[in-house]
């Protein structure tokens, strides 16, 4: 169980893992996430599922090295097993035929966006996808996105690949060009904040998939609370997707930094041990 079947480096810091877990592979839906733990001293942390193969019984995860836990996960090799893996968690994305969908992904956020793009396409929508990253090395899953999108726009901050500029630039051009019925954004909180401000300006219904801090992922701890429309909601059981225009992204950004000191110290201890 939870054995790593395949491992691929998208870049130095971004790794794709195909993990054996037949039950989750069968039951997961686009938008769901899992909670993982690596090693008996490891912490629990969430990752949104980037794909699944119910026949092979595998799920795909894409992880970016950020701190101790992601480093420990990436240190696992093919044949190793992830100590604990539970899911699928969170409410799945609401998929329906609505017309034209604009999907925007930033950094590793492109990975969980992929199954959503696929599902919207299969539901009969026109899907336009904008994928963005700091530079060419960090652009991931472009070919897979092209397979399920009517059009893919690539944006890089430094212009090393695709068009130069932030994700919002690519999005706005499309919004001005044609009628968009719904937008979905997944990426760093700051990117989702500005993408959301943009679509609010054009009054396009927008869903954002939030990456809050979690411990259990089942509604128990409340670490993942977020203000949506002035009400406190739990990302794990009420989300992870919310009406982006109602999300208090500034509060979310502040809460994401809630353990930054402790995370930094833990990372220093981890690097010393290596």
């Amino acid at each position: 169980m939870n054995k790593i079947i395949e491992k691929e480096y998208f870049s130095d810091k971004v790794v794709k893992l195909v993990v054996e877990n037949p039950l989750i592979a069968k039951s997961r839906k686009p938008g769901n996430f899992v909670i993982l733990r690596v090693g008996e001293d490891g912490e629990r942390f969430p990752l949104t599922i980037a794909g699944a193969d119910p026949v092979k019984g595998t799920i795909t995860l894409v992880v970016q090295i950020m701190g101790v836990s992601s480093s420990k996960l990436v240190a696992l090799e093919v044949g190793d097993s992830i100590t604990d893996l539970v899911g699928p968690l969170g409410k799945p994305t609401h998929i329906s035929k609505i017309g034209t969908v604009l999907a925007a992904g930033g950094g590793v956020g492109v990975a969980p966006l992929l199954p959503i793009v696929e599902a919207f396409k299969q539901a009969g929508n026109r899907v336009i996808t904008v994928i963005a990253a700091r530079n060419q090395d960090l652009i991931i899953l472009e070919d897979e996105m092209r397979k399920w999108s009517d059009e893919v726009v690539v944006m890089t901050d430094d212009g090393s690949y695709g068009r130069k500029g932030l994700v919002t630039l690519g999005m706005e051009e499309i919004i001005q060009r044609e009628k968009i019925d719904e937008c979905i954004v997944i990426g760093p909180a700051i990117m989702m904040k500005f993408a959301s401000l943009l679509t609010k300006k054009y009054a396009i219904p927008t869903q954002a998939s939030l990456n809050s801090i979690m411990v259990d992922g089942t509604g128990m701890c409340g670490a993942c609370r977020v203000s949506v429309g002035g009400k406190t909601r739990f990302t794990c059981v009420d989300g992870p997707e919310f009406d982006a225009h109602q999300v208090d992204f500034d509060e979310m950004l502040m809460r994401l930094g809630g353990y930054s000191q402790e995370e930094k110290q833990a990372n220093e201890r981890y690097l010393l041990k290596l």
Binding site: L23, E43, R44, D216, T218, M220, G222, V237, A266
Partner: protein, 495 residues
Amino acid sequence: MSLNPEYLKEERNQEWRAELRSKTKNKDRALIERVHMPELAPEIRVKYQDREVNMGLQLEQAQKEATRCMDCANPTCIEGCPVSINIPKFVKYIEKGEILKAAATLKETNALPAVCGRVCPQEKQCEAKCFYVEKMSKNSVAIGHLERFAADFERDSGTSNIPETAKPNGIKVATVGSGPASLSFAGDMVKYGYDVTVFEALHEIGGVLKYGIPEFRLPNSIVDFELDNLKKMGVKFETNYIVGRTSSFDDLKEEGYKGFFIGSGAGLPRFMDIPGENSNGILSSNEYLTRVNLMGAATDATDTPVLKGKNVAVIGGGNTAMDSVRTALRLGADRAMIIYRRSEEEMPARIEEVKHAKEEGVEFMMLCNPLEYYADAKGRVKGMRLNRMGLGEPDASGRRRPMPIEGSEFELDVDLVVVAVGVSPNPLVPTCLPDLKITRWGTIVVDEDKMQSSISEMFAGGDIVRGGATVILAMGDGRRAAENMNNFLQKQSIN
């Protein structure tokens, strides 16, 4: 669920019991003072998150305490026990010095005696119904201490007695969750001969016994020992498995499961919904305790962090609030404060927990209610505003209603706040079952006698039914559900 009076009488009439009764006059029994539980000194124990405060009785102490029990003809104490332990029988075995038989007696009806001996509010249950309390206005027999003694004695002796189980009937049943309700259910069902699997969402079995109750009150090793007993009886355990999500109920039915017990607990922490409450450094008691108890965040050896505060306010007056505030002290707080909107008299926490907390230096700010939190530039809480409360007429709970006193507002410096004002039922399971009847609070509706839900093969108990109760009430639910599911499934297999 009560024991058959005929059976109790028969047991009481056994020669050894009669002999013990005649050995010491009741008058002399009543002269013995109630035993005091030896405790680790407060100034030492506040330094250790994982050292138990209550140290347990010695053999002589336990036997002397057991001698106080008069082995009443009408043992009212049993009525006070939600899992109907044959209390006089186990106590008399201790008096006689047959401690392993005392432990076996406990296990006849209780899957977790070492746990219950530590965390049950006996003063409100069996001990409240003790003859000494009811008829003599004296301190009850220390039934809880004796329960713990017998269970610990057996564990330390290395000879664990595994309760007898009926011949396997091959019928598969599942529990959803692995807390006290589910474990108690599993223990009884495996005794009836069922093939029982306990499904748990977390990576550890035990539910609130593991993530909630701190090691200084209930060491994890004690819980693990009791779980081992259940394993030896044949109960199977599956971690990282959310029934309804990882697999659906229908999938499990296809795999042959005929009955389900839902004991998924009241997982969702409540907040007060006041300004600033989402600041960093304000967390639920569930989060705080889970990080420390389940994830071991108190030490650098584990990856999970926990925020440490110098001025820690814990909001609430229940056992979870006491567990949180005492944890804060052990993690190095200079000031650890309980902030409670009623007075000490109304506090739901066990008297023993309050006593221990006071000895350790916890400050009790009674009749105070938080209004707002302030954060620093980085979003970390740095202070709070409160007002003082007076007590009005009794409310629906029978306790006097707290009322704000006008003009009583004041501010307090805090850098960590733990909110322990209660929990709501976990929606994860009910949302997977559209046909399951739930109340407007999200608890599962059951027939109170049978613990059967609106879906006939699904029974439920513990906090997912009660909304928030104790370990032992959950265990009582588990036993009742087991008895009735057994009847239900037996009837089905006959038809």
